[in-house]
Every structure is written in structure tokens, then in C-alpha cells.
Symmetry: C2
Subunit: 220 residues, 2 copies
DNA sequence: ATGAAAATTTAGGTTTGTCTAAAAAAAAGT
DNA sequence: ACTTTTTTTTAGACAAACCTAAATTTTCAT
């Protein structure tokens, strides 16, 4: 099935919006995510419904059909593989790759993606710790807890992020936090929820609760 | 200046059509090259003229302005660098890369192209022997003669091709002809212009005049 | 339960890039 | 020189993806 760039972006947005448990995604949520007006979203939902990639009942929100989900996961696979390429091979910083991957994810060629995957050594995760789906749309799900909810004095490892905006990534660089870093919560400040953390048994810093919510930890 | 994919493709087509000496390119030639109707081309020429990337006088053909030429060369640079990437890094065959490069050439990011160029070791030529322009649009021009016009018994090297369609490239693979191959013309058949050639001092084959016209040789 | 607020859809338009059919200009043939 | 043919442009339409403004439906608060 051929879908335009725009249609692909709608499917991807719907997928991401339903990631955190929501079954039905709202028109407004989609228009926010894509920077379009709700009226435009309504138009497009009608079209995507026709193509049977979404389940859509007027006024009642939208969800992906199995075939829509498969397409969304293919696009996410391409996005994340290109991000790995940019960081691992072209020496981009992790905060510089998303915009370019937004373009590269729409390149059409199954062989290209297979070969790229192989060239990169079949990476299971992208530079931000997000899992890369395989050709069938399956991916490793890791058990994770937000840093804000881990117990005092427990040692954990950074395995992912909830936010991946350039500003947040640049902050993490500065703080010395990266995917794989060892983190131990030394103290919780009850007043504002900020945390004193020890990074790699070397450096102690203070992070706000907002920051801590967006860092995902695998406890060990 | 921002140009759409479509506008970029028009500029590239105009550039390629004026490569073999022609000063002015015709509406019909462009419509042929892009598989659109002449009426559509007329529309677009008006728009590109407005943007001052082409010189256009009604009924009198079209040429690129300096700024249009610079843009065209940037796109060709990207196209050819991606072709090198696909062949050198992802192990594509030279007849498989053009279509994918047609998509990749429109990815917008100066940094990406700089880094890709560096990653590939600043290649001066693409897999088909075509020169890769640098950031300023300059490229190596090699003296070349069509194989059909080289002298008997002169040793030469394949440095490029006039045709790069998959079918022609596959034929060359089968014949054992590649960029860099040594070729000596052993005999010319006057009747139909076909040639008996010795490849790499190993194998002698017969090639038609049509084939010989499309192989470019550097005499040595 | 009912009126106000919020969310969503419809109606009617715009822009981009395409098309067909018709008109106009240029080139070619005699 | 004057037809005829070819090339090119214009006129009018259409699909995709967006918009604003207005209508409709749902949700929320009293
Ligand atoms: Mn990304
Ligand atoms: Mn990512
Ligand atoms: Mn090519
Ligand atoms: Mn090429």
C-alpha cells in the first residue's frame, strides 16, 4: 500500500499517542502533535479510515488497525535505524539526529533498511534508548522505572528517556548523564521532589523532579 | 531558499539537459525527462522564473541562472554521494542505487552531507564514474572519448558511462566491463560499427556500436 | 437535568502540481 | 510566401493537504 509522507506522519503520531496506554486517540491530540488544525485532522481521519489503516468512529476517537500499526512500526524502525547511523557512523550528537531522521524515515526501500540494519550490526536500541522494531514490528521491551520513583540507595542504570528534545539532551550531556550511566539516588528532597544522585560512582549532582521523571532506570 | 522536491527535480532536469552543450532547454525536453505534460512544464517554468533560478523567455527555452545552477549541483552532489554510500558501505550493486538516490538527494541538511562526504573519504566520482561536485559546485572533469571513437590497438581505461540505466549496467556486469577496466580495441567491423575489444588483457568480446557509444574511455 | 464549555466535524476556500483541450507562436516544407 | 506541422502557452479542472468560520456533538459543572 502506498501512503504519502503526510499519511505516514499521521499513523506515526497516532501510534505514539496511544503508546502510554490510551486506547483511543483524540483529534485535538493529533492536531497538537502534528501542528495542524483539528479540522485538517478530521479530513485526514476520514481518508485513513477509507484505507483501513485506522478505526474511526466520528466524535469517538481513533485507533490503528493491525495493518496501520504495522506501517507505523516500520516507519519507527526506519527512524531509529537512521538515528543510530547518524550517531554511530557520522558522529552526530544525540540531540542533532531527530530532525534528519524525520526526513529519512520516509525513504522507500525494503532492501535499503535491511542492509542498513546489517551495516549497523542489528542494533536493538536507538541513541535515546528507544527499542528498534524488527521487520515484523517486534521489539525488546525493557522493564523501566522513572528515576523519580526509584528507591533510595538502589543502584540503577539509565536505559531510556521519556523526553528526547534537544534541550533536554543537551542538559543531560552537561550533567554527565547518558544511556548506560550508573545512577544511585543518595537523597530525596521532600520539599520539591528533587534528587541528589551519584553518577558512575564519581560525581554527585542535584536534579529536579521534572528531570527525574524523564529518565528511565533499570534497577539492578 | 526553500524549494519543493518537485522544483528541485525540475532544476536537476534542466541542468542535465543542458550538459551536452545546449544553451537553451526546450519545454518538451523537460516534460519528456520528468514524465509530465508540456502544459505542466510551462506552469512550473513561470514559477521558477519568478524565483530567479532560471532564465525564461516565453517560447524561447530556458537556462539556469547562477543561483539555479548552484542548487542543481548541490542536488547532484547529494545524489552521487548517496550512490557511493549505497555501493561502498551497503554493498548495493551499481544498477540498484539510482532510484534510492533519487529519494535521498532531497534530504535537507548541510551537516549531513559534509559528514557523509567525510565518512566516504571525499570520493571524487560516483559508482558510474560521474564526478561529484564539492560544496561550491566544482568537480573534476576528465578528458574522455566514447569507446566508439577510440583508435585501433590503443590501450584505454573505462572512466565513465553515458547511459546508466539498470539494463545497461547489468549488461556491462555480464560482459565484465567496469569503471577502471583496461580496454583495447582489437578490430572494428565497418559494416555495423561493432567492435572487438580486449578487456583487462584477458578476455575478448564483441560489443555493438550502440554499447560502444555509451562507454567513456581515457586513453593512455 | 440543563446550560455552558470544549471537542469535533462540516462547509467553503487556498495553494501546489498535475491534467486535457484549445489557442497561439514558431518552424518546416513546398 | 504561404500552408501545414510542431511546439508552446493559456484556460479551466482536479486531487491533496491545509486553512478559517460556522455548525454540531459531547462533556462537564452546577
Ligand atoms: Mn527521533
Ligand atoms: Mn530516537
Ligand atoms: Mn543516479
Ligand atoms: Mn550516478
Amino acid at each position: 500500500m502506498f501512503l504519502s509522507f503526510t499519511e505516514e506522519n499521521y499513523l506515526k503520531a497516532i501510534y505514539h499517542l496511544s503508546e502510554d496506554g490510551k486506547i483511543d486517540v483524540s483529534t485535538n491530540a493529533i492536531s497538537d502533535a502534528l501542528n495542524t488544525k483539528p479540522a485538517s485532522v478530521s479530513d485526514m481521519l476520514k481518508k485513513l479510515s477509507q484505507k483501513e489503516v485506522i478505526n474511526y468512529i466520528k466524535y469517538q476517537g481513533v485507533s490503528l488497525t493491525p495493518s496501520g500499526k504495522k506501517i507505523a512500526l516500520q516507519i519507527i524502525r526506519k527512524h531509529r535505524l537512521w538515528e543510530v547511523f547518524l550517531v554511530e557512523k557520522l558522529k552526530f550528537n544525540w540531540d542533532e539526529v531527530h530532525e534528519i531522521a524525520e526526513q529519512l524515515e520516509h525513504i522507500q526501500s525494503n532492501l535499503l533498511i535491511e542492509r542498513l540494519d546489517e551495516f549497523l550490526g542489528f542494533p536493538p536500541f536507538d541513541p535515546h534508548g528507544d527499542p528498534i522494531p524488527n521487520e515484523r514490528g517486534e521489539m525488546k521491551a525493557k522493564k523501566h522505572t522513572p528515576l523519580s520513583e526509584t528507591d533510595l540507595h538502589n543502584q540503577g542504570k539509565v536505559i531510556g528517556l521519556k523526553e528526547t528534545s534537544p534541550l533536554f539532551l543537551q542538559y543531560l550531556d552537561k550533567a554527565g548523564i547518558y544511556i548506560g550511566a550508573k545512577i544511585k539516588v543518595m537523597d530525596k528532597i521532600e520539599f520539591d521532589g528533587s534528587l541528589e544522585i551519584l553518577i558512575d560512582n564519581k560525581k554527585t549532582i542535584l536534579v529536579s523532579s521534572e528531570v527525574a521523571k524523564n529518565i528511565l532506570i533499570a534497577e539492578s
